[in-house]
Symmetry: C3
Subunit: 344 residues, 3 copies
């Protein structure tokens, strides 16, 4: 669809600066953009590409200037760019309602209207799939599980029995929701399995990445709060409570019964020990290991995780440690000489 930049700004918002008559046909990232595209600048890292981009127009923060190209000023250029993406690129993952003839759906399952169920999907007894939800090929949904409206469950997902999933939840391929918690009691030399009879509740607007694992609770509930986004290969142990609007980056692991507040961020490969609490708005840096509870608003990093500026100081000091050892040995020798010659 071809539009003028002026027409596009009418749809996506922002303030036009420069020639509104250029024709825009597509969106693109700032590095790969060509003529006829609109791009954006949000990350200062990419500022150098302002000069070299071949885009026909750029969505930018207010105050940005460009010698030749028309700009669109926006409070949040990335958000405005998303609107352009949504204008130009149809959502490829909107599914046509209907049930594939190879899907195996229990007679007691309740399927809403506008639902899409793909080939080889298995839906067990007493499940509920609400209006407008899509369940793609090869996905398994266990007995008694409920899925809200407008969800998108990608191919080859496994959702075990008695799970509750809210509305507009996205679950990527290979994710496993409701596997048994890792609970064993030592009985002499062997471990005896603790039955895992709890469930998992995933609230509205959560996104769960590919090959994520979320264990069911031993008793009670493993809870993922609304709006939380979980990246690929994340592990969430039994009875964990993750608050609303958290960000869990790829390969994060959260030990059993840990509790995360609202707006917590855990960067890639970070871990949280079982039973600890991470307060609202706290951040754990990449590969950080939170071994104890973290106060609200704090940023921690390293192993064991410590307040970030302190951790940084320590890591910088470490570079001087090998020299420090030599220096202290020299001081000792010099001091011995002084002691020797000042003896009474």
């Amino acid at each position: 669809m071809d539009v003028t930049l002026r027409e596009l700004v009418g749809v996506i918002g922002g303030e036009l600066s420069g020639d509104g008559s250029v024709v825009i046909k597509a969106v693109a990232g700032i590095r790969e953009a060509g003529p006829g595209t609109v791009t954006f600048l949000a990350n200062p890292r990419y500022e150098a590409f302002l000069k070299t981009t071949r885009a026909s127009a750029i969505i930018v923060p207010r105050g940005t200037s460009h010698p030749t190209k028309p700009l669109v000023f926006a409070d949040n250029p990335y958000l405005t760019f998303i609107k352009a993406v949504e204008f130009f690129v149809p959502n490829r993952n909107v599914q046509v309602p209907g049930i594939h003839p190879t899907a195996i759906i229990a007679r007691t399952a309740r399927i809403g209207s506008g639902v899409h169920i793909g080939p080889n999907v298995v839906i067990e007894d007493q499940t509920t799939i609400c209006d407008g939800t899509s369940v793609l090929a090869g996905t398994y949904i266990g007995r008694g599980t409920e899925i809200g409206t407008g969800c998108l469950i990608y191919p080859n997902v496994t959702i075990r029995e008695q799970i509750t999933i809210g509305s507009r939840v996205i679950i990527h391929s290979g994710a496993v929701i409701g596997s048994d918690g890792f609970g064993f009691v030592r009985d002499g030399d062997v471990y005896r399995k603790v039955p895992q009879i709890g469930n998992v509740v995933i609230q509205d607007d959560v996104e769960v990445g590919a090959n994520v694992t979320i264990d069911r609770a031993t008793t009670g509930t493993t809870l993922i709060g609304k709006g939380t986004k979980i990246d690929n290969l994340v592990q969430i142990g039994h009875n964990v409570v993750v608050g609303d609007n958290c960000i869990l980056v790829a390969q994060v692991g959260i030990g059993g019964s840990a509790q995360l507040g609202t707006g917590v961020t855990m960067a890639g490969q970070a871990g949280a020990a079982g039973h600890i609490t991470i307060g609202d708005g706290a951040t754990v840096g990449a590969q950080g290991g939170a071994t104890k509870s973290i106060q609200a608003g704090m940023t921690v990093s390293g192993y064991p995780a410590r307040e970030h500026t302190q951790a940084n100081k320590i890591y910088a000091s470490l570079l001087k440690l090998p020299d420090l050892l030599k220096k202290v040995a020299e001081l000792g020798e010099r001091l011995s000489k002084v002691e020797e010659r000042t003896k009474d």
Copy 2:
């Protein structure tokens, strides 16, 4: 099922203290327990909840007291609680024997009695599935693989060819058993694949978590010893030998040809380098990186992994390192002054 506490103790064991006539209808964790439930106290972390729990009875270690509630004394309260769980909660994962019409089973496969095979399961030639085993929806079992009695293989598992699995093994969804080991030889600038012609042997009573990967051996066997429990997203490289009754917590990675003794514990996100040995009863702390062999009985932590109390001392010392740098600089200046004024 409603029973009196006295009747329940008759079934699960332990010693009743207090009113045995209270009616128990269910089990629950100490925090979420309500009236009519029995709960337990095993982890000292939860002692504070003794006072606030709404449970009608509590299974506790001997010597515990409570002002109002009936108690059940037990040597191992968690084990006794498990018996209560098994009394009240039917095992939801016991499957009705039978083969789903959509399962695709090779004519040469040997299927025992009392076996459950779910929808869309694929079972290749020359496989054996022994009595009482359940293989759930969408799982793939490769040519020549043998699975013992009473196993539970959850949906969407992949078990490749020529694998041997013992009895009472549980394998969670998304696990991949017998993928090729990561073996390549450098040939000039490129890598040439080493055929992976070995197998995997999983002994009795092992549990394998969701999305775990266990690679087949290059030649010979990748072995998981009996009673070992493997949490989600663990990686086990080719030719690894894991002893009996080990505990491998989520996201652990074990490099090729490493050998773990009996009763080894590796906490979450820990790693073991290839070719090393970890002795019987040793423990690697969370996120620890075992770069060299670990003696039997030792507990190590950190990267590179060191004896745990030593590692703890080092991590505590680190907090003082930035100050130490300043202090040593000051000592140097003070010493220079003394040297100056004590020169002959």
Copy 3:
């Protein structure tokens, strides 16, 4: 198939030293080898097994000697051994061409000759599967995806829409290719999803391990260069560029928009931050965390990742840190005494 060692050397190359008439029936690793097998020695770690191996012949580096057994000298013993493996062990994963009747293949899909498509495979519209490729049971291939010649896609893989895969690519079970990149923009208290409209390109001769996740680009392409080998449970973020002939060991994580050069090695559980560059031939040690760009040819380790010999010095120095603290305190006291008694 039984052959004399002399005949085998005629096939696999190398220089025979000793009795060429011994009969060889199979290949085996040096530890588990029995009579009638040929084994090899490549890793100096295993030199001790030269004396104890029960193999009938050993492929060794030139200059090796053995009191009794015939040897085969080779420039690269492992490569020569691979040829022996290929001679004795038929590739079990060569599939018979044909399409299983339960496969669900869109009418607009283009399927080449000699293609094997297993049970319950789902192939969507406008896909291309080129000659000689095998797609095994339960795998899903999304709309518009193209797969080259001679590929082997194991069971239960998910390849999303609009992905391009080269020739001779191997993808292991549970891998997910083309899941959405982890892109969200903060909009007040909540996160808004950034549509992920880019793709993934996997070039020739790549191997992708079990349960690996490779995210599609936000816009543009996530690229895996030719000959790169990816171990199990690796995460590759959106817009990452991995060069040719890289080695990514199990559980590695690469943040969005990071760029790896040619011949980069990342050892197990290592991580690379988003947006950084890792130069040609660089190596990141196991569990290392590359927080900043790494120059070509450099080896780094630890967190934050530093040049490897420097990191090793620091880790060795750390052992002396607790003592150093005491020593500096003592020096301070001794210095105070000297200062006291040398006061004017």
